[in-house]
Every structure is written in structure tokens, then in C-alpha cells.
């Protein structure tokens, strides 16, 4: 009898514990590093969202994000609050030339102003430059007078020139973005960038990390990586691996619109820990994964979702064997069941697509549908392989970041390609190793996320489709890429730029180019009830400047 009672208690305990466990975790419980931590982007390829406004001279006006993005300003904003944003990765440095990923925009944006700013909807608006003028030979900015950096160094044309010269000569990942600038001149309150070639995307580049302005007096500081001096609304109080801690700078020209007294950007790699932090109220706002939507809503969090210019893709190195054949690449495209991936891995939140830009975005091609370019058709895929001379298939290697999200994709691609006789050797690698190996061309194919318009769309096309591209170890050349890029950079209007982007999209699809795009994931941000003023930016340049906390 006593024995039976003991067993009953034991069984009850086990069931209780199991029930508790099921409320946590969605298969990514043990993920130790967020996907962003191994983001492959190196400045070549990113997201943009903006209608390209580089052709337009902007008039003087208020900065695009100096007020809450939703337009409503509640009465009970707590201006003495500390705002805590949580993300999955650590910024390696706060010094502009050393920043290693575009995702660090959120970390450095509170510190630095830029010549122009990009609003969440993608519009370019004045900031340190009150206006600008674009000609085929030069880009001239007129600098707002009377501003200073945190150390009281004047933020004038000379300071802007010093920053631009520093980036142009940095031998870092940003110098290539300003390669069209042959020289920089400062005169009075004007800075002129002389151009050696058309550079229509330069305004977007300068609205992003490469355009962030630091005090020239700080360039030689030993602690510039952790204690930078900018002219933005916040100064850095402390930099640790756990996060960056900021204080409001009362000397900011728009300090009345800096709506919190302090801010923190916390680095929490584990997705479950982060979501628990939001639910417990220890974190205010930040990133969540698609698989956590249910948990976030059950925890009473507000969920924001938006399709940014971001894709999941399978990239093929075309300098080897069968992968050099366009029909083989087409076959791979038809062998992937995008809808099954969307439903199976992402609960319908990763829209199947074959093109790099979302609907409504410049460059989106309405009739470049999955049905037309990548319909799931195993028989057709087999036929294409046979026509290309590989009826029995072949073997390839496939690299991926060793993170649950991507290893899941890896397994699915492996299984789906096996259906047409392609044997995939799956190679999940840790972040740094993955980037090193794909750069060295050690994988036949590889997968990962990519933003497609940051700092500008040009970078995506140059990185993947130009033989000198940073993400093109196989030296693939999209037919006519040089001319297509010149058309894009020299387009006189935003409509022309969109048309040039569409031409690139169509050409890449017709040629079955090397990036086999699978789906476009939605970006998810969650926040507590007392948080407002945030909008997910189309381009991915997440800023906290407009976010506020309310009392009560």
C-alpha cells in the first residue's frame, strides 16, 4: 500500500514537471546564440526599404524620428525612465569603422547623428545636413550651424570631412561603400563629395553606420571602442558584454524630444530567456523569434510584425561542376517546397518568394512569382537535371550557421534535394567559422539570412552578383551586371531607381542566378504595455530614439 502511494506521488511529480516544461520552449530552447550573432552580412547586402530619394534635394525640416513614430504623444510619458531594449547579439565596438555588423545600428544610433536620417518608412530626411544637392559629379551637403559633439567640439563642415575621410581610408568593411567618392572638400558650412562614378545610393549609405559622425578630437582615444564621442541624444555610461548603458545628453539640440533619461541595449542570446525577460517586465522592448509569437501573446506582450527587405536564401557557388549549369540551379529552385518550409518551420510567417524585395518595396516585380520561377515540381526538377546531364544527381556540400533556425532549414533542404537525387553533405558551423569558410568558398552551397537593402540595394547586388563581390567566392557574373549597376546608381528619379532594381531582379531570375531565394521572414518585435513610439523600420535600421515609457 505504502509502495503504491509512493509511486503515485512520483508519477504525479513527473507529470507536473512535464506539464510545466511544455509551456517553455518551441524547439529553440537551447539555442545559445541569436541568429543575428552570426549574420553573414558584412555590409555587402542589407536591407533597404526606402524609396530612393537620393535625387531629391531635401528642404530644411525636422528630423524624421524626433517624435514618436505613431504620432500620438500620451500625457503620462515618464521622462525619467530607463528604456531597456533587448536583442540577441553584442556590438563588438562602438567606434564606427570597427562596427562589424549592420545589426549594431541599434547600439550605435543613440550615440551618433548622421548627415541624413532614414525614417522607418524609408524616407530620407535632414539631420546634420539641413539640405543637399546631387549632381552626377558631386554631392554637396549644407551643414546645420551651431551644433557640437558631446565633448563640445564643433560639429561643422571640417568635422564632417574628417569623418568621411576616416571612413574612406579606414581599410574596413565600409570603405568600399564610399568607393565612388574621389575626394571630400569642406568650405564654410558646406561639404562636397566629389564623385568618380554615379553614386545614387550614397545618401542611403550615409544615413547608416558609415555616415555616423564622431568627434574628430576622439579619433585617437584609446578607449574609442567603448567610450565613443558622438553628437547623438545619448552618451555612453558603460559598455559591457551584457549590454550598453546610455544616459540622455542634455546638450542635444533636440533634447526635449529625447523621451527617456537613460537607455540600455541588452545582449541576450538565448531567445527563451529574452522572452521571459519581456514577460517579467525586466525588459521593455526588443526582438523575438517567429516561433515565439504564441508565447509572447500568452504572456500579455504587444507584438509588432513587419516584412522587411530580408530573405532566407540558398546560395550556390557557380565555379564548380554541376552548379555552373543554370538548369541545375533551376532544378534546385523547383525542388524546394517553399510553402512547406513556410508552414512547417515558421507557422506561415515566412512568405514564399523568389525575389529579394517585399511587395510595395522599390524593385518588387509583381509577376516574378513563385509559380513562375520556383514552383515546387519534383518531376520538372528531375527533368531539368537530366537535361543538364545529371540524371542520377550528384553530391554537394551545404554550409549553415549552427543555429537552430538554420540547421532546421539545412535538414529540410537536404531532404527535399534528396528527392531529385542531389545528396547534400550538411555542414553546420559556428558563427566565425561559417563566415570564414563561405568567404573562402569551402561550401558548394550555403544558406543564411540576408538583408537586401542596407545600407543600399546596390550593396546586395554587388556582393552576390558581381565577380568582385564580397559574397561571391565563385566569381559568378550576372550578365550585364556592370551596366545594370550603373543604371541603378545613376537613375535620376526614384521611379527610375525602382525600374533599375526591377531589371536586376528579372535578369537574376531569368538567368537562374546563384541566390535561390526561399522566403521572406517577418521581423517580430515585442513590448510591454507601457512602451510606445516604436515602429519596425522597413530597412532594418532600428532606432530607439522615438521610444518612450509611460507611467503607471
Amino acid at each position: 500500500m505504502r509502495k503504491r502511494r509512493l509511486w503515485a506521488i512520483f508519477a504525479a511529480l513527473v507529470i507536473f514537471a512535464a506539464a510545466c516544461g511544455s509551456s517553455e520552449g518551441d524547439g529553440e530552447a537551447t539555442e545559445s546564440a541569436g541568429s543575428e550573432a552570426t549574420e553573414t552580412d558584412d555590409g555587402a547586402g542589407a536591407d533597404e526599404s526606402s524609396p530612393d530619394d537620393s535625387d531629391e534635394s531635401a528642404s530644411t525640416g525636422s528630423e524624421g524620428d524626433s517624435a514618436p513614430a505613431d504620432g500620438s504623444m500620451p500625457d503620462n510619458i515618464d521622462r525619467e525612465a530607463t528604456l531597456i531594449w533587448a536583442t540577441s547579439f553584442v556590438a563588438n565596438s562602438l567606434d564606427v569603422p570597427s562596427v562589424s555588423t549592420d545589426f549594431a545600428f541599434t547600439h550605435v544610433d543613440p550615440i551618433y547623428d548622421t548627415l541624413v536620417r532614414r525614417t522607418p518608412s524609408g524616407e530620407l530626411v535632414p539631420s546634420v545636413a539641413e539640405s543637399w544637392e546631387v549632381t552626377p559629379e558631386a554631392l554637396t551637403f549644407t551643414i546645420v550651424e551651431g551644433r557640437t559633439f558631446h565633448d563640445d567640439t564643433p560639429l561643422d563642415a571640417e568635422a564632417v570631412k574628417a569623418n568621411l575621410d576616416r571612413i574612406i581610408n579606414c581599410e574596413c568593411r565600409f570603405d568600399v561603400l564610399l568607393s565612388a567618392v574621389s575626394s571630400v572638400e569642406a568650405s564654410g558650412n558646406q561639404v562636397t563629395l566629389n564623385l568618380s562614378e554615379p553614386a545614387g545610393s550614397l545618401l542611403q549609405v550615409l544615413s547608416d553606420i558609415p555616415g555616423m559622425l564622431a568627434s574628430p578630437a576622439s579619433f585617437g582615444n584609446e578607449d574609442i571602442d567603448t567610450n565613443p564621442v558622438g553628437s547623438g541624444p545619448f552618451t555612453v555610461r558603460e559598455y559591457t558584454d551584457a549590454g550598453i548603458f546610455y544616459d540622455r545628453w542634455d546638450g542635444y539640440h533636440d533634447a526635449e524630444n529625447t523621451l527617456v533619461a537613460a537607455a540600455e541595449v541588452r545582449s541576450i542570446p538565448d531567445d527563451n530567456t529574452r522572452i521571459s525577460g519581456f514577460i517579467s517586465g525586466e525588459l521593455d522592448i526588443g526582438l523575438a523569434r517567429l516561433g515565439q509569437l504564441g508565447e509572447a501573446e500568452a504572456g500579455g506582450l504587444n507584438v509588432l510584425r513587419r516584412a522587411q527587405a530580408q530573405i532566407y536564401q540558398l546560395v550556390v557557388e557557380t565555379d564548380r561542376g554541376p552548379l555552373a549549369e543554370p538548369d541545375v540551379r533551376r532544378a534546385i529552385g523547383h525542388a524546394l517546397d517553399r510553402e512547406a518550409i513556410n508552414q512547417g518551420l515558421y507557422d506561415g510567417n515566412c512568405t514564399p518568394t523568389v525575389q529579394p524585395f517585399p511587395e510595395g518595396f522599390p524593385g518588387y516585380v509583381a509577376d516574378a512569382t513563385v509559380e513562375k520561377y520556383g514552383a515546387y515540381d519534383v518531376d520538372l526538377a528531375r527533368q531539368l537535371l537530366a537535361d543538364a546531364g545529371y540524371p542520377d544527381g550528384f553530391e554537394i556540400s551545404m554550409g549553415a550557421p549552427a543555429i537552430t533556425n538554420y540547421t532546421n532549414q539545412l535538414e529540410i533542404y537536404q531532404a527535399q534535394l534528396a528527392e531529385i537525387g542531389i545528396t547534400v553533405e550538411a555542414i553546420p558551423d559556428e558563427g566565425r567559422t561559417f563566415v570564414d569558410r563561405l568567404t573562402a568558398g569551402e561550401y558548394d552551397t550555403w544558406l543564411g539570412p540576408n538583408t537586401t537593402a542596407r545600407p543600399s540595394s546596390t550593396n546586395f547586388w554587388r556582393a552576390y552578383y558581381h565577380p568582385d563581390g564580397a559574397r561571391n567566392s565563385g566569381g559568378y557574373e550576372l550578365p550585364g551586371i556592370d551596366e545594370l549597376l550603373v543604371n541603378l546608381e545613376s537613375a535620376p528619379s526614384s521611379e527610375d531607381q525602382a525600374a533599375a532594381l526591377e531589371a536586376l531582379v528579372v535578369t537574376s531570375l531569368d538567368e537562374a542566378a546563384r541566390s535561390i531565394i526561399v522566403c521572406a521572414p517577418q521581423t517580430v518585435t515585442v513590448h510591454n504595455d507601457n512602451i510606445g513610439g516604436y515602429e519596425i523600420p522597413l530597412a532594418g535600421n532600428t532606432t530607439l530614439r522615438t521610444v518612450y515609457k509611460t507611467t503607471g
Partner: protein
């Protein structure tokens, strides 16, 4: 313990640390491919890779490289992080207290739970013993990260008794420190407590079967005195051995626990360093944990003689 034996043990520990330091210092050469290229990064030019090689001293003979690294390390200078350019010593100073606090907390919990439950189970055979055995089996079987998630769900999210995240330094706020390390310490210490309970129970059962216990009982020794004077002392040796061995496991386990509770500790730093191939940080981490584990095992060795005079005489 004789001073000669003490010296022998200390010398053994020094040799282990020395050998580990050689491996750690030359770790950069064990990376597949060119170490300078790996350190210089993705887009480094040939000149930049050569400059990196020179900066890291990779052109020097191996013994010179070791000597330079070891003398700097002894002075507490482990160089700068290749990723953040911050002094590694500063990074370790920032994160070490959190990891040590959790490890210490876990050890205290493990000893408290393990010794008490194991002792009771060993003394009172029957149902108590069986419950303790099942409990310790469960404790060993449950992964610490899962226990951590359960604790977060109930005690942090459900009842708001403890925070989910972070660490507060002891010097800043002692109560806040205790508040923050409680759940991580329990999550980490529970598995170890099960191991300690098993060893304690086994030790107690063994000692209780010894003739001198029967003799003491026959002579009318009170149970309390019997336990503390004869049983506990003799049963302690296997328990302390397990504790020493488990410290290494705790230093490994704390890596996971720090992820679950978003604590910026030694483990978090190590994970990032490995992912980024940040060699100076990895070298410092490996050497530091080696020194900690070797030192604790040395203390365990030395404690045997102190606990049990018979061991002292045998030595």
C-alpha cells in the same frame, strides 16, 4: 600532513598548470589553416595578415612565443580581445564575480541538500532511503538548463518572487546579489546535490556497518555523538572527493546557466570568444579555469589528511 608530502602535491599542481599553459599558449597554432589569417578577419589583405602575424609574434620561435605569453600572463596581462579590443584582464574582472557567485551558491546548495538527504537516507533505511534514492536519480537525470527554465516559469514569471535576468554585484547590494543568484544557483546545484547525496548515503551506510560503530553503540554512545564523531568524519572523504570533482562540472554547467538567466559571466564570455575565435580571451579562460580546478583538487587532497588521521598516517 608532512611538509614533504605537501610540497609534492603543490609541485604536482604546478606541473599540471605549466603543461596546460603550454597548450593554451600555443593554441593559436592548432587552428586549422593560417592563424594570422583567421585572426586578421574576412577581408584582410596580404599586408594586413602579415602585420597581424608580426603583431601576434607568430614569426618568433615557439619557445620565445611561449615565454612572452607566459611572462605577460603571470603579470596578469592576457592581451586585448581581438573582437572588442578591450583588455582581457578587464573583461575577466567584470565577469568573474558573477560566475564565482553562482558556482559558490550552487556548491552551498549541493552540500546542504546532498549531505542532509544523503545522511538521513543512510541512517534511516527504508522508505526515506528509497525516496532519497529516487530524488537523487531525478536530480542527476534533469538537465540544469531545464531545471532553470522550470524555476523561471514558476518563481519568476508565475509568482514574481525572483528576477529572470541579470546579476547584481555583492558589493553594490548584498540582498540584490542573493536575490539574483538564488535561482541560477539552485538550477546548477541540484544535479550536484543529487550526486553528493548518493555519495553521502553510501559513505554513511558503509561506516554504519563498521565494527567500531557497533562497539560504540554497545558501549552506550548517544546517537548524535556517534554520528558526528564517528560516522560523519569517516563518511566525509568520498563526499569531499565528489565535491572536488564536481567543481569542474559546475564551471562547465555555469556556461549553460548563464545563458538561461542572461548572466554576463565567465561562461557567456567563453562562448562568445569561441564563436568569434577570440584567442586571447579563450586562452585566459582556459588557463583560469585550469588554475581553479587544479587548486580545488589540491585543497581536496590536502583535506583528506586533516579529516581522517588514518589517511595522514598512511601517507
Amino acid at each position: 600532513m608532512s611538509s614533504r608530502l605537501l610540497l609534492r602535491r603543490v609541485w604536482g599542481a604546478v606541473v599540471v598548470i605549466f603543461l596546460a599553459s603550454i597548450l593554451v599558449a600555443l593554441m593559436v597554432h592548432l587552428v586549422p589553416g593560417d592563424a594570422a589569417s583567421a585572426v586578421a578577419g574576412d577581408n584582410a589583405s596580404v599586408e594586413q595578415i602579415e602585420a597581424t602575424r608580426e603583431r601576434l609574434g607568430l614569426n618568433d620561435p615557439i619557445h620565445v612565443q611561449y615565454w612572452n605569453w607566459a611572462t605577460d600572463a603571470i603579470r596578469g596581462d592576457f592581451g586585448h580581445s581581438l573582437i572588442t579590443n578591450r583588455p582581457v584582464t578587464t573583461m575577466i574582472r567584470q565577469v568573474l564575480p558573477a560566475s564565482l557567485s553562482i558556482t559558490l551558491g550552487a556548491s552551498v546548495i549541493a552540500v546542504f541538500i546532498g549531505v542532509n538527504f544523503g545522511g538521513i537516507a543512510g541512517l534511516r533505511r527504508g522508505v526515506t532511503d528509497r525516496v532519497a534514492s529516487v530524488g537523487s536519480s531525478l536530480g542527476i537525470a534533469m538537465p540544469s538548463f531545464w531545471v532553470g527554465m522550470l524555476l523561471v516559469t514558476f518563481f519568476a514569471l508565475q509568482f514574481n518572487l525572483f528576477p529572470v535576468l541579470d546579476y547584481t554585484p555583492l558589493t553594490e547590494d548584498p540582498l540584490g546579489w542573493l536575490h539574483h543568484i538564488t535561482l541560477p544557483s539552485i538550477a546548477l546545484g541540484l544535479g550536484m546535490s543529487a550526486e553528493v547525496a548518493r555519495q553521502t548515503r553510501g559513505g554513511v551506510v558503509d561506516v554504519m556497518a563498521q565494527p567500531y560503530i557497533r562497539t560504540a553503540r554497545a558501549k552506550g554512545a548517544p546517537e548524535g555523538r556517534l554520528f558526528f564523531r564517528h560516522v560523519a568524519r569517516n563518511a566525509a572523504i568520498p563526499v569531499i572527493t565528489v565535491l572536488g570533482l564536481q567543481i569542474g562540472r559546475l564551471l562547465g554547467g555555469v556556461i549553460i546557466i548563464e545563458q538561461v538567466f542572461a548572466v554576463n559571466g565567465l561562461g557567456t564570455m567563453a562562448v562568445r570568444a569561441v564563436s568569434d575565435r577570440d584567442f586571447p580571451v579563450i586562452q585566459a579562460y582556459v588557463l583560469l579555469t585550469t588554475v581553479i580546478v587544479v587548486s580545488i583538487n589540491l585543497l581536496v587532497d590536502l583535506s583528506y589528511g586533516w579529516i581522517n588521521p588514518r589517511v595522514r598516517r598512511q601517507e
